[in-house]
């Protein structure tokens, strides 16, 4: 990086050519993102015009009569992602804590690398594991869950149902396992940027390691940790393959988490290629557009939160 971006007083033809080539490539990326939004909106307009705003909260999904509403998959997406985050965030925090400040270097680094490598495993493998290994085991545990947790007041409603192994809760659990390495490695990177001097000062005042983690590390990285969680949420919302296998693909929204449901991504994966009527296809694209807007908002928030740490780091470096 140089202070001025042109090398010589008179840029050569090669300079102008190379510079515009690179500029076009960069603009192309902007155009693609813009194009995704415009193309999806354009193609989903028929559905929005036909059903109006009520598309968002109508639960009908009837391809035969050409009546569509997005509420069930929208709610399913939100519920499965919420379950995933509820489980994955504490786990990821623990893993990041272990790797950065608890484990000795000979253990922490390999564990961190292993987690990172596992984050690269494609989501379809998680889905297959969920379907062939986890769901049969979980089906055996479900009668116990219904009998014990299902009888609790208030909360119990969520855990009553037939022991099928697949359903909203299974989808949430598999999603949690999938985003765990992802969130953990972001948190690890975030914790690693805390200046050692700050931590050592706290230790010198007599703080225990947990107090240092709680009042120094977490205080310093709070916004970035939240940003990492939001990135995980963005990933969970749009995750297709890990969910499709285990959510049950039933067009229903029941009070019990043990019953099958659907999410936007799973619905798209299952039905899009077979959507026959134009309105059917447009409704599916409309759901895709809604998913895109939801993740866009979450991801923008995530990046803004993560950037705050980067700027703080830049200032500390000066």
């Amino acid at each position: 990086m140089l202070a001025s971006s042109s090398g010589s007083p008179r840029p050569s033809v090669g300079d102008i050519f190379f510079r515009s080539l690179a500029g076009f490539a960069a603009l192309f990326v902007l155009l693609v993102l813009f194009g995704v939004a415009v193309a999806l909106l354009w193609r989903s307009l028929p559905a929005f015009q036909h059903f109006g705003w009520s598309f968002l909260w109508t639960g009908t999904w009837d391809p035969v009569r050409d009546l569509f509403g997005g509420w069930i998959p929208i709610a399913g997406t939100l519920i499965s992602s919420a379950i995933a985050l509820l489980i994955a965030v504490p786990l990821a925090y623990g893993v990041a804590l272990f790797v950065t400040s608890l484990a000795p270097a000979w253990l922490g680094r390999p564990v961190g690398s292993a987690i990172e490598l596992l984050a690269a495993i494609p989501s379809i493998i998680y889905g297959m594991w969920g379907l062939f290994v986890f769901a049969p085991l979980f089906a055996k545990a479900e009668p116990w869950i219904s009998a014990h947790i299902g009888t609790l007041p208030y909360l119990g409603v969520l855990f009553r149902g037939p022991p099928m192994g697949i359903g909203m809760l299974t989808a949430g659990l598999i999603l949690a396992i999938m985003v765990l390495p992802f969130i953990a490695s972001i948190m690890r990177d975030v914790f690693a940027v805390v200046p050692p001097m700050l931590k050592e000062s706290a230790y010198a005042l007599g703080a225990t390691p947990w107090e240092v983690q709680r009042h120094v590390v977490l205080a310093y990285t709070r916004s970035a940790v939240l940003g990492g969680i939001f990135l995980g949420l963005g990933r969970a919302l749009g995750e297709t393959m890990a969910v499709t296998f285990v959510i049950g693909n039933a067009h229903q929204l029941s009070s019990s988490l043990l019953k099958p449901g659907n999410s936007i991504a799973a619905l798209l994966a299952n039905e899009f290629a077979e959507a026959s009527s134009p309105l059917y296809q447009s409704s599916l694209l409309a759901l895709g557009f809604i998913l895109f807007v939801m993740t866009l908002v979450i991801l923008i928030l995530a990046r803004l939160l993560l950037w705050r740490l980067e700027t703080a780091q830049g200032k500390a470096g000066l």
Binding site: M1, L2, S5, G7, S8, P11, D15, F17, R19, F24, A25, A26, V29, V32, L33, V36, A39, L40, R43, P90, L91, Y93, G94, V95, F98, V99, A114, I115, L118, A120, I121, P122, S123, I124, I125, Y126, G127, M128, W129, L131, I177, T208, W210, E211, G234, R235, G238, T240, M241, F245, A265, L268, A269, F272, A273, L285, G288, F292, T295, L299
Partner: protein
């Protein structure tokens, strides 16, 4: 030992104990998934897998057409995406200092990097499949390229910005034009890092299923015609795993094993390249 001290010590042990427990649980589950893939995959692995095309249920078969289809799609995406990503990354690192456009592109590239892949698939459907009127390999390659580019862009940008300014100044002081300096000095200095980005991006698109389901669809037979639906490994795995037939499910696991090994090797290679360049 007073009560306050005992309490602080207790919470310290409690939290670190929980962290350790949670790490063990997380690692066990993740290794369990890997082990399942290895176990089911190896028991279904044989030479037929690479010699025969995808079968109908009950018939012997392999995944030859799916392997070739995936190689074509991923290869096209890499061919198109690599120059685009490197050039755009170069623009950010070398040509956009002090200008708002750099930050804007960087921000939106980060968004595109984490956008759900199924939405990218819908986009490819809308701009390629819909106007053409039929499913095609091209649409899948476009979708994969859109997922590929942001990763390369980001690493290229980061790696180029790590190159010390003094190297550039030395080249410019010798009278090199700016573009020669970039091609012959900064690219060479950041080469290993850029290669790492390409390998990681390749690992990312190799297992992508969602954007292929309704762009390339699937093809049970041998085909290398990108203008028509062709087979691809992730979609074949998806369809066979969802099928009720044990022989097809075994094929799916074999395919999953090949995918996982390929991706892990790529990730390890990426780490090795970066490690070697940092050591020297």
């Amino acid at each position: 030992m007073n009560a306050l001290y005992a309490r602080r010590r207790f919470w310290n042990f409690f939290h670190f104990g929980m962290a350790m427990l949670v790490t063990v649980i997380g690692l066990v589950v993740l290794l369990w998934i890997t082990w399942t893939t290895l176990r089911f995959g190896f028991s279904a692995l044989n030479l037929q897998l690479f010699r025969m095309d995808t079968p109908a249920p009950g018939n012997p078969g392999g995944l030859r057409n799916a392997f070739v289809g995936s190689l074509l799609l991923v290869g096209l995406a890499v061919l198109a995406g690599t120059p685009l990503g490197i050039l755009a990354g170069t623009f950010l690192a070398e040509f956009s200092q002090g200008r708002r456009i750099g930050g804007v592109v960087r921000f939106f590239n980060d968004i595109l990097l984490s956008a759900p892949s199924i939405v990218i698939g819908l986009f490819a459907y809308s701009v390629v499949v819909y106007p053409m009127g039929h499913y095609s390999g091209w649409a899948g390659a476009v979708a994969l390229a859109i997922i590929f580019v942001p990763v390369v862009l980001r690493t290229t940008d980061e790696m180029l910005r790590l190159v010390p300014g003094s190297l550039r100044e030395a080249a410019l002081a010798l009278g090199a034009p700016y573009w020669t300096m970039i091609l012959r000095v900064t690219y060479r200095a950041a080469g290993a890092g850029i290669l790492t980005g390409i390998l990681l991006a390749l690992a990312r698109i190799s297992g992508e299923t969602a954007p292929l389901i309704f762009t390339v669809l699937n093809n049970q037979f041998w085909s290398t015609d990108l203008g028509k639906p062709i087979a691809s490994l992730p979609v074949a795995i998806y369809q066979f795993a969802m099928s009720p037939y044990a022989d097809l499910q075994a094929l799916a696991w074999a395919g999953a094993l090949v995918t996982v090994i390929f991706i892990l090797l790529l990730s390890l290679a990426a780490r090795y390249v970066l490690y070697r360049s940092q050591r020297s």
